[in-house]
Amino acid sequence: MTTLTISRALNEGLRKAMENDPKVLIMGEDVGKLGGVFRVTDGLAKDFGEDRVIDTPLAESGIVGTAIGLALRGYRPICEIQFDGFVYPAFDQIVSQLAKMAYRSLGKVKLPVVVRIPFGGGIGAVEHHSESPEALFAHTPGLRVVACGDPQDAYAMIQQAVNCDDPVIFFEPKRRYWDKSEVDIAGGLAAAPPIDAARTLVTGDDVTVLCYGPMVRTCIESAAAAAGEDTSVEVIDLRSLSPLDLTTIFTSVRKTGRCVIVHEAPVTGGLGAEIAARITQECFYSLEAPVLRVGGYSIPYPPSRMEEHYLPDLDRVLDAVDRSLSY
């Protein structure tokens, strides 16, 4: 076991992936000498060369579009999108090409491309640096969408994403990059849960709380606080946002009868909507309360000095847990 930050764990995972397979490439803005603005690719250009860690021209459509071409040639490119808000210029290449090529070719083409996106707010940044666009990709069939929430998952999931023959949109919880915890580097991937499985992080009986990415820590802390008030909260890290691990979700909600979903993205049209709708449909007679959603308001991400009031926090999660229990 080694203590690593999420940023470092990703770095170690990427390094492993590059060591294991010479076809693995990294491409993006400032991923080379600088090691990325969050240092996730730190040192990789030096060790694997500029042909494998490519500082690209400044254009996201070009990054994803050429990555697709490299994948067609047998490479396994990992694209870094510098910030969530800059993935939109690549949207067409992701939605109309990356997501659809396997289908278009009736399975004859595989595109093992990973698109890494640091996402979410809470770092005091200017506009476009705090977005949570995951629902857009989860609504796009053909993509896998995942988010890691802690260093261990960061380390394992990035490798699983690279190994996966489907395109993967890989969300990294930007404001948790420097959170530290134990990572089993020696253990390899054997012990890691599959990339499409949710993980129960806290077991509880009263309310199920679903979360992912930066909200994982918030929800674990909320569960601890609730425990102090004798409320037993079950916290599940979804990890895979598309496809969803519905079995794990339904099993928990059938047990607790109550569910709160937490994400930073605006509630309206967010991933929580899909999950709430599915739970209601499948667990209708088990539900003691409507599935409640905690997330961003229906506004553009606000200026950073207001973001603490925008972002879901421990209090808002607990408030929702309380409301759920009051039904």
Partner: protein
């Protein structure tokens, strides 16, 4: 060629679209069927080679013709005709080595033919049986790309892969990316130029300037000849007579060889004309004059090869009759392939989303299966259907 842009700024208006600027059009075979020479593009072709090109031209036109007819008869949903662009496609297509990779749009039936792709595969797409469905590796021709310009980035990335594989050199590999005049306005195409240039990637950008993007004439996309775009990105561009199969072959071959040998990208503007409608759903009489069409008829890409073959005594009537008969056979074969093409089991629409189907997909598939089977022979469900 030292470009003094400051001087250019001082001496407005621009020279490249001024009356004094004459873009060179590379031509090796005149519309009248006479051989022309160009110092940079010597081309030696045997009689057999020329006849083979003629055959390609005729056959791809025939396939196209059959497809249009099939669409009219309701057998295809739509068809994008290559009529008039046969020389550009066959010339460039035959310039490719088997190991080279081609990235087509939705109109490159002539290129597909040269790569050896069964035309029935194309019909599958336009009939609505699949979105393509062929294996790009089987004949080194990528799937048709419908989103304008997107494939130019794929092609560039693929070319970067060739570099990384060390597959350059005299016998190396190269890539050709096809796109239209309209496509040059897309951000993606310009980004592809940048990537290709910065990486000195082994790629040929082959723009078929057929003068129209649906109803929009060329001047909506550019005010200077399109081949000049390349100089803004630091690689060579040239304009070739796109109705001249010899010239298209020669310039593409040379550009591909340069790419293979590590000299980077070239932009080829094949100056041609879309003789038909944009697609079978389009009505060009709404936006263009028939006089234009008539003038281009005189530049027909097939007729000039025929004239050349006749004049030079390389072929006689029996050869043309033979090709014509072969065309009919192929037309027939294409027609049969279309009419006999089985519809797919609807449940296969759930295949190939991911390498492994997700539980949700399996569930949705099962839903549709049970829904479909409810219509199949169950007397009561049929009765129910009757009431609706």
């Amino acid at each position: 060629m030292a470009v003094n842009a400051a001087g250019q700024a001082a001496s407005r208006p621009r020279s490249q679209d001024g009356p004094d600027f004459k873009p060179e059009l590379i031509q090796l075979l005149t519309p009248e069927g006479e051989r022309a020479e160009h110092p940079d593009y010597p081309l030696e072709l045997t009689a057999e080679e020329i006849k083979a090109l003629y055959r390609d031209l005729v056959l791809v036109r025939r396939i196209d013709f059959e497809a249009i007819a099939l669409q009219r008869q309701g057998e295809l949903g739509i068809w994008a005709s290559l009529l008039g662009q046969e020389a550009a496609q066959v010339g460039s297509g035959r310039a490719l080595q088997p190991r080279d990779m081609a990235f087509p749009t939705y109109r490159e039936h002539g290129v597909a033919w040269c790569r050896g792709l069964d035309p029935a595969k194309l019909l599958e797409l336009f009939r609505g049986v699949s979105h393509g469905g062929w294996d790009p590796k089987a004949h080194n021709i990528h799937l048709y790309t419908i989103v304008i310009g997107a494939q130019t980035l794929h092609a560039t990335g693929y070319a970067m892969g060739i570099q990384r594989d060390g597959a350059l050199g005299e016998d190396g590999e190269a890539v050709i990316a096809y796109f239209g005049d309209g496509a040059t306005s897309q951000g993606d195409v310009n980004e592809a130029f940048i990537w290709a240039s910065v990486n000195n990637a082994p790629i040929v950008f082959f723009c078929q300037n057929n003068q129209w993007a649906i109803s929009e004439p060329l001047d909506r996309q550019t005010r200077i000849p399109l081949y000049l775009r390349a100089q803004g990105f630091g690689f060579p561009g040239l304009r070739v007579d796109g109705n001249d199969v010899f010239a298209c072959l020669a310039v593409t071959r040379k550009a591909l060889q340069a790419a293979r040998e590590g000299q980077g990208p070239t932009l080829i503007e094949a100056y041609t004309y879309r003789m038909g409608a944009h697609t079978t759903t389009d009505d060009p009489t709404r936006y263009r004059l028939s006089a234009e069409l008539e003038s281009w008829k005189l530049k027909d890409p097939i007729e000039r090869v025929k004239q050349y073959l006749i004049r030079s005594g390389l072929a006689k009537e029996d050869f043309f009759a033979e090709i014509s008969a072969e065309a009919d056979v192929i037309g027939d074969r294409v027609r049969k392939a279309c009419l006999q093409m089985p519809d797919r089991d609807p449940l296969t629409m759930f295949d190939h989303i991911y390498q492994e189907p997700s539980p949700l997909l399996a569930e949705e598939r099962a839903q549709l299966a049970s829904y479909l089977s409810s219509f199949a022979g169950h007397a009561d469900s049929l009765a129910k259907e009757g009431t609706r």
